[in-house]
Each structure stands twice: as structure tokens, then as C-alpha cells.
């Protein structure tokens, strides 16, 4: 009876995730594609120069409010810079950090996780202990510390995020490859004469790829947030280039005079983060062989 109930609940769970994954993938993917295209073609789509200050136009409200000016769709900040253009150019930094940091963290974390989970023994013990030490750091503080040490700049931000977040990949992939290592097919491959590294790469790795993809997408969202947090405490790329976190920091200061400077980057960030995590979940639901 227990068995029957378990399999039934598993089926229903599978059914619901299959059902929801399509719409989720499209909505989340759609927003990400839109933001990505805006980032790539920023100079073409941005209505204004994101750095151009105009004290005649400071703190203009968004287009539907009285006092707005044509051409400044989402209003301007306290220096008269166009908010929409700044958000579009800010997407560049956000996506560069998201892709680079998440890929780097994924590469390091998944490799170590795979080794740790598949080989076990001493490798596992050492890697697990390092992960334990890493987890004992408050991540935000660690990120700020690393950027302060490395010096501000795009590559520092990317390195800091990768250095902190590889453990996320390591823990999940370790657990998954540990489970895979006990499967019959791994034993069969061994009997068939494959070497251990060959089995790890050809048999175990493909089975943990769906999890890696989901984590990768999730991590991109996290990287965007961490970059925003670093910009917020004024420790990110430290140039005049607009960043979402930097705009939020400005918005926080002029919150009582110009709420839109905080609201629009906030909405953009929330949509982007939600999309990255939903996109990952959707991908996993679609490609996971067990769920499929």
C-alpha cells in the first residue's frame, strides 16, 4: 500500500511539473531573451545616452505622470540621466556577470563535486572539508571582502562570485554522482572494461547534466543579485557605467523625491531573478530523464 501511494504521488508530481514547465519556460525564457537582446543592442535601443546629465531634466517622472518629458519613458534620476537607458545599459553588466560567474562557479564546483561523489574516499573527505569551511563564511560578507581585496572591477566581481558559489554546485553534484555511482549501469560499465575516469565522464556526467543546467540558471540569477548588492555598497565595477545595483543605491537615497528610480530597477531585478530560477526549473523538468 505504501508503495502504491508513493508511486502515485510521484506520478502526480511528475504530471504537475510537466504541465507547468512549458508555460514557465516560455515566460521566463521570453523575459531573459528580451533583456539579453536589450543588453547586446543597448546602443541601438536605448533612447538616450545613459551617462548624459542634464540638470534641466532632473527627477522627471515616468511617461504617464504629469511633468514628464517625451523621450524619457521611465523618468530621470537626480542628475537628469534617463532611467530606461541606464537600465538597458545596466543589463550588459548584469548578463556578463551572470554568464561568466555562473560558468566559472559551475566548472569548478561540478568538477570537484563529480570527483568527490564518484571517487569517494580521501578525495571526498578533503573536498567536503573545504566545502564545510567555505560554508562557514557569510556569503555576502565574503563577496565584499574578496572585492575589497581584489580591487573593484568587472573581473573582480566575477571572480568573487565564482570563488564563493562553487560550493553550491559541488554539494549538489557530489550527492547526485554518489547516487549514480551506486547504480547498476556503472557496475556494468566497469565489467565492460571502462576505466574509472572514463565511466565518470561518459556514464555519470551525462546523468547529472540536468541538475547542472538547473543550477547554472539558478546561479545566474544569484550572480545578478550579488552584483547588485556589490554595486549597492559601491564595491562593484567602480566606473561610470550604469549597473542595476548602482541605480538602486541612487534610488534608495532619493526615495522620497523620486520613487521611480528605485521601483524600475527593482522590478527589473525581480523579473530577471525569477526568470533565471524558473527557467532552470523548467529546463530540469523537461530534460531530467527520471521526470521525463
Amino acid at each position: 500500500m505504501d508503495e502504491a501511494r508513493n508511486s502515485r504521488s510521484r506520478i502526480s508530481r511528475r504530471g504537475s511539473s510537466r504541465h507547468g514547465s512549458g508555460a514557465r519556460l516560455w515566460l521566463a525564457g521570453g523575459w531573459l531573451l528580451l533583456a539579453l537582446l536589450a543588453a547586446i543592442f543597448a546602443p541601438l535601443v536605448a533612447p538616450q545616452d545613459p551617462l548624459a546629465q542634464d540638470l534641466m531634466f532632473e527627477r522627471l517622472p515616468p511617461f504617464w505622470m504629469s511633468g514628464s518629458e517625451p523621450g524619457f519613458w521611465l523618468g530621470t534620476d537626480s542628475l537628469g540621466r534617463d532611467l530606461l537607458s541606464r537600465l538597458i545599459f545596466g543589463a550588459r553588466i548584469a548578463f556578463i556577470v551572470a554568464f561568466a560567474a555562473a560558468l566559472a562557479a559551475c566548472l569548478v564546483g561540478s568538477t570537484l563535486g563529480l570527483i568527490s561523489g564518484y571517487f569517494g574516499g580521501w578525495a571526498d573527505r578533503i573536498i567536503s572539508r573545504i566545502v564545510d569551511v567555505w560554508m562557514a563564511f557569510p556569503p555576502v560578507l565574503f563577496a565584499i571582502l574578496l572585492v575589497a581585496v581584489l580591487g573593484t572591477g568587472l573581473s573582480s566581481v566575477i571572480i568573487a562570485i565564482a570563488v564563493i558559489d562553487w560550493t553550491r554546485f559541488c554539494r549538489v553534484i557530489r550527492a547526485e554522482s554518489m547516487g549514480q555511482a551506486r547504480m547498476d549501469y556503472v557496475e556494468n560499465a566497469r565489467i565492460a572494461g571502462y576505466g574509472r575516469i572514463g565511466i565518470m565522464l561518459r556514464e555519470v556526467l551525462p546523468n547529472v547534466v540536468p541538475s547542472i543546467m538547473a543550477l547554472l540558471s539558478l546561479e545566474m540569477g544569484i550572480a545578478v543579485i550579488v552584483e547588485a548588492i556589490l554595486s549597492f555598497v559601491n564595491l562593484s565595477i567602480s566606473t561610470d557605467d550604469p549597473t542595476w545595483g548602482g541605480i538602486i543605491a541612487e534610488g534608495r537615497l532619493s526615495i522620497h523625491q523620486a520613487w521611480w528610480v528605485l521601483v524600475f530597477p527593482l522590478v527589473t531585478l525581480i523579473l530577471t531573478v525569477l526568470s533565471f530560477s524558473q527557467f532552470g526549473e523548467g529546463l530540469k523538468a523537461r530534460f531530467d530523464p527520471v521526470l521525463r
Binding site: 569551511v133 557569510p138 555576502v140 560578507l141 571582502l145 526615495i255
Partner: protein, 335 residues
Amino acid sequence: MLLQRFLIRLLTMAITLFGVAVVVFVVIRVAPGDPIAMMLPPGASDADIARLRAFYGLDKTVVEQFFIWLSGVIRGDFGTSISLRQDVLGLVFNRLPATLELAIVVLLMALAIGGTTAILGARERGTAVEAGIDIASGAALSIPDFLWGLVLILLFGVLVPILDISGRVSPQLDLPFVTQFYLFESLVRLRFDLTKDLLGHMLMPAVALALPLAAIISQLLKQSLKEVLDLDYVVLARVKGFSETQVILREALKNAALPTLTLVGVQFTFLIGGTVIIERLFSYEGLGNMAIDAVINRDLPLIQGIVLVFALLFVLINLTVDMMYALLNPRLRHG
């Protein structure tokens, strides 16, 4: 058995802390930029610089500096803050209570919200109520605390300005406190006017941190409750005529709570880390806010002290959760 488990945990704890100390020390020492140069007025003589470097031990090798610092830490001496020129341990103890109070309020809040929605969702399983709870917890979980903090500032600081968006307590108030545990002390002294002011400042940062945690608790507890609710002994209780709410509260909750407990512990450690940016966002005078200032000022001894205290909290919480789990889980208790 339990004692052995405890001792092993204690040993790994010490190793973890040592690892953290090494990593922080190495990371900070490779930092470019001279903290001494930032403390002195321009035009300070070389002799002055050398004297100050010697005072902070910066003229020795990195390995020597590490062991000097470590032996100090073991004796309870964390050194002197470079930017604030005060004893690091004193500074940390001065700020830690504010962060601890915030974390405890967050934990209680998350348990209350998460527990209630989990019980409600389990009772109304399969209905629109459960679906609503799932959507709400999904949203709460996907949006990080930093963004929740900003959303709350907009909602209750600007749109409907009913809460304070910065600080720990209104500055014009006369505080009779002798400890830094303001909230606790205001309750003990029956100064509920101060409690109200403190909570008014704490509410938004606390909710921002509590929402994702509450969502995790809610999801996991609801799942375990639903599994337990199908077991024979629960069915028996239902046959005996208990209402569904009674069945959940009296029979199911006890057994479903165990997996949630472990997770709450792990998440609580993340929460302690999350206080760093939330304190900054709301200008709440806790340890995390001081940590960011310390990093910006390159205050090496202070950074080391704060990070080590955070790491200590992390391992202590893990240890507590592990021990509670061992005590509560009958299989481990008798094993």
C-alpha cells in the same frame, strides 16, 4: 554514543574554524593597499609609519603574524581595530546583540508564518487554498531577502509610511539599557513604549529575512505533514473522531517536525549571513553593518574578528541542530 558524536562534532568544528581563520588571514594579507597609510595624515614621517606598522604587527612575516594573531584569539584578544582604534572583541560584543536579536525575531517569525501556512495547507490539501499557499511560498522563496527589503521599504516606508526605514531605535529616545540586548531588556524592564519603537525599526528587516525562510519551512513541513497524514496511526486518530486540525496538531506535527528541524538549522545559518546586507539596507546597527564598514576601511583586525565570530555562530548553530536532532530522533537516541 551521543557523547562520542558530540566530541567528533566538536573536533570538526575546531578544524572548520581554523580553516576559516587561515582563509580570512590569507585573503586579507594578499590585499593591495596599506591600511597604515590610510590612518596617518599626509606628510607623516617614515619613522611614524614604521612605528605604527610595528604596533599592529604588520612588520613581521605573514606566518608570524598569523600565529601571533591566533595565539591572541585563543586568549580572547582579537587585536585593535585600525579604523575605530578600539578593542575588536569589545566592538564585536557591542554589535553582536543587535544582530542576534534580529536573527531570533526572524526565526520566530519564520516559524510562525511557515508553520501556520504548512498546517493550513496540509489541512486543506488538494484545494485552492493549498495551491495559493504553494504559489505564495514559491514567490517568497524565489526573491532574495535583499530585494524583499527594497520592496518593503517602498511599500511601508514610502507608499504607506508607517514604519521606520533606518536605524535600530529612534535617536531622540532616552535609553535606560545597560546591555546591548535592547529588545530583551525593554521587555524585562516593562518599557513597552521602547519595545514598540524597537520592533517598529526591526519589523521590515526581519520580514525581509523571514519571508524566504518561512517559505522553505512551509514547503517542507507541509510535505512531511501530508506524508504522515496517510499513516495508519493518524487514520486511527481520525476514526476516533478527532477533527483534521486536532489530528494534525496532536498526532502528525510531532513526527513531521523532525526533517524540518534539520533544515531550519541549515537555513538559520544562511540567515545569519543574510543579515549583513539587510542591516546595511536598513542602517541597522548590527555586526553585519559594521563588517561592511570594516571592509571598506580595510580594517584588518576588525574584519578578521567579525568573520571569525560569524563562523563561530555558524558552527555553533550546526552543532546545536545536530545535537537536537540526535536527542529527538529515537533511532539515533537508542542507536
